[in-house]
C-alpha cells in the first residue's frame, strides 16, 4: 500500500471500530485527526456521522467514505483503539504496525464470555431489584435472578444470531414479564413482588450507551448524531415498554 493510502486506511479503520463499538463522535473525529496529523497531514478533513465516516487528505483529490451499519457494544475495543492511538502518538509503534493491530482489534472476541455476561445480568437484576424495592424475600430474589438471566439471554441471542433491531428488547421484555407473572401465580406471591421482579430483570437491558452518547454528542455540537442516538435509545425503551405492556394487559 502507498503511504497516503495507508494513513487514510488506518484512520478510517480506527474510526470505524470506535463508531461500531459505542464511542462518542468527538472521540472518533479526534482519534482520526490525531492519526493523520501525526503522519504529517495536519489539515485532513474528517466528517463523522453516526452511520458513516467521510475523510479526505489535503493534497490528494481522493475522498473515502466508510458506512457504519452495525453498532454493537464492546467498550473494551474503544479502550484498545484509544491505547493504540496513544502508543502511536508517542512513536512507540509505526503506521503499518498500528494498522495490523487495529485489524486484530476489529475481529477480537469480547473478554467476558456469554456465561459471565449472564451472571453479570443476574447480579445487575438482583442488586437493583433489592436497591429499588427493598423486597428481600428469597423467592423474589430467585425469581428475579431467573427472569434477569433468561431475559438477557434472549436479548443477547437475538442480537447476535438474527440482528433484528428492537425485536431483541421486545421479546426479552415479553419473556421477563411472562416469567414474573408465571412465578407470582405459581408461588402465590404478591402483585408487588411481580412488579419488583420485572423492574429488576429489565435493568440489564437499559440502553446506557446510546443514552449517554446522545447527551454527549448533542452537547459537543453534533446535532445530527446526538438526536439520532436519542431516537435509538427511545425506540429501545419503547420496545421494552411494549413487551411489558402486553404482559401486564394479559394479567
Amino acid at each position: 500500500m502507498e503511504e497516503t493510502e495507508l494513513v487514510m486506511n488506518t484512520a478510517l479503520l480506527a474510526g470505524e471500530i470506535l463508531l461500531e463499538n459505542g464511542a462518542e463522535i468527538a472521540r472518533v473525529e479526534d482519534t482520526m485527526m490525531r492519526i493523520s496529523t501525526n503522519e504529517g497531514y495536519a489539515n485532513a478533513n474528517v466528517f463523522v456521522l453516526l452511520t458513516g465516516i467521510t475523510m479526505s487528505l489535503p493534497d490528494g483529490t481522493a475522498t473515502q467514505v466508510r458506512p457504519v451499519h452495525s453498532r454493537t457494544l464492546d467498550l473494551e475495543k474503544v479502550d484498545q483503539v484509544n491505547t493504540l492511538s496513544r502508543q502511536f502518538a508517542s512513536d512507540e509503534i509505526d503506521v503499518p504496525t498500528f494498522y495490523q493491530q487495529l485489524r486484530q482489534v476489529k475481529v477480537a472476541v469480547p473478554t467476558f464470555p456469554f456465561w459471565l455476561q449472564l451472571i453479570a445480568a443476574v447480579v445487575v437484576s438482583v442488586t437493583l431489584m433489592l436497591a429499588f424495592t427493598g423486597l428481600h424475600q428469597w423467592l423474589v430474589v430467585l425469581l428475579t435472578a431467573l427472569a434477569g438471566a433468561t431475559g438477557y439471554g434472549v436479548f443477547y441471542l437475538i442480537n447476535h444470531e438474527l440482528q433484528i433491531r428492537f425485536l431483541s428488547e421486545f421479546l426479552a421484555a415479553l419473556v421477563i414479564g411472562a416469567i414474573a407473572d408465571a412465578g407470582v401465580a405459581w408461588l402465590a406471591l404478591s402483585r408487588l413482588a411481580g412488579d419488583a421482579v420485572i423492574i429488576g430483570a429489565l435493568m440489564p437491558l437499559v440502553p446506557g450507551v446510546p443514552l449517554m452518547n446522545a447527551f454527549r454528542d448533542t452537547m459537543a455540537g453534533n446535532y445530527l448524531s446526538g438526536p439520532a442516538r436519542a431516537v435509538e435509545a427511545i425506540l429501545s425503551v419503547c420496545a421494552i415498554g411494549l413487551g411489558i405492556a402486553i404482559m401486564v394487559s394479559l394479567r
Binding site: 473494551e76 479502550d79 484509544n82 445480568a121 443476574v122 442488586t127 437493583l128 436497591a131 449517554m212 405492556a245
Partner: protein, 154 residues
C-alpha cells in the same frame, strides 16, 4: 447504618455487573464500581437515608443533580488518571440511578388506564434523566475550568 452499607454494596455490584455486560476492560471495573457506589451514596444522602415515604420532586431532582455531578467529576478524574475513555466509567456507574421503577409504573398505569398516575411517573422519569444530564454538564464545565487554569498556571 447496616442498610446504607448494604445498599452501597448493591450499587457497587450493579455497576460492576453492568460493566461486564458492556465488556469494559478489567482494569476499569473496580474503579467504575467505586464511582457507582459514590453516586448512589450521594443520591441517598440527598433524599435522606431514613426517608420512608416518596421524596418530593424537588428533593429527587436535587439528589439526581448532585449524584450526576459527582459521577461526572469522578469519571473525569478516573479517565485522566488511567488514560482511558470517560464513558467506560460514567455509563456503568449511572445504572443504579436509572429510574427503572418509575418507567415501569408509567407503562403499567397506562395499560391499566390510570393516565394521570402514568403522567406523574413520566414526570419523575423526565426529571431524573434531565437532572442527571444537568449534573454531567456541570461536571464537564468544572473539568473545562480546571483545565483552563491548569494551562494558565503551567
Amino acid at each position: 447504618m447496616l442498610n446504607i452499607l448494604l445498599e452501597a454494596i448493591l450499587a457497587y455490584l450493579a455497576t460492576v455487573g453492568f460493566g461486564v455486560i458492556l465488556n469494559i476492560p478489567r482494569r476499569a471495573l473496580t474503579v467504575a464500581g467505586w464511582i457507582g457506589l459514590a453516586g448512589w451514596l450521594v443520591y441517598k444522602g440527598f433524599i435522606g437515608f431514613h426517608q420512608q415515604q416518596q421524596p418530593s420532586m424537588a428533593q429527587l431532582g436535587l439528589a439526581m443533580l448532585m449524584a450526576g455531578l459527582v459521577i461526572g467529576v469522578l469519571s473525569n478524574v478516573a479517565a485522566r488518571r488511567k488514560h482511558m475513555p470517560m464513558i467506560l466509567f460514567n455509563i456503568p456507574s449511572l445504572v443504579p440511578l436509572v429510574p427503572g421503577g418509575q418507567a415501569y409504573q408509567v407503562v403499567r398505569n397506562l395499560v391499566m388506564n390510570h393516565v394521570d398516575v402514568a403522567l406523574m411517573y413520566l414526570g419523575q422519569v423526565v426529571t431524573v434523566a434531565g437532572m442527571i444530564a444537568l449534573g454531567f454538564l456541570l461536571a464537564e464545565l468544572l473539568a473545562r475550568i480546571q483545565l483552563r487554569f491548569h494551562h494558565l498556571s503551567s
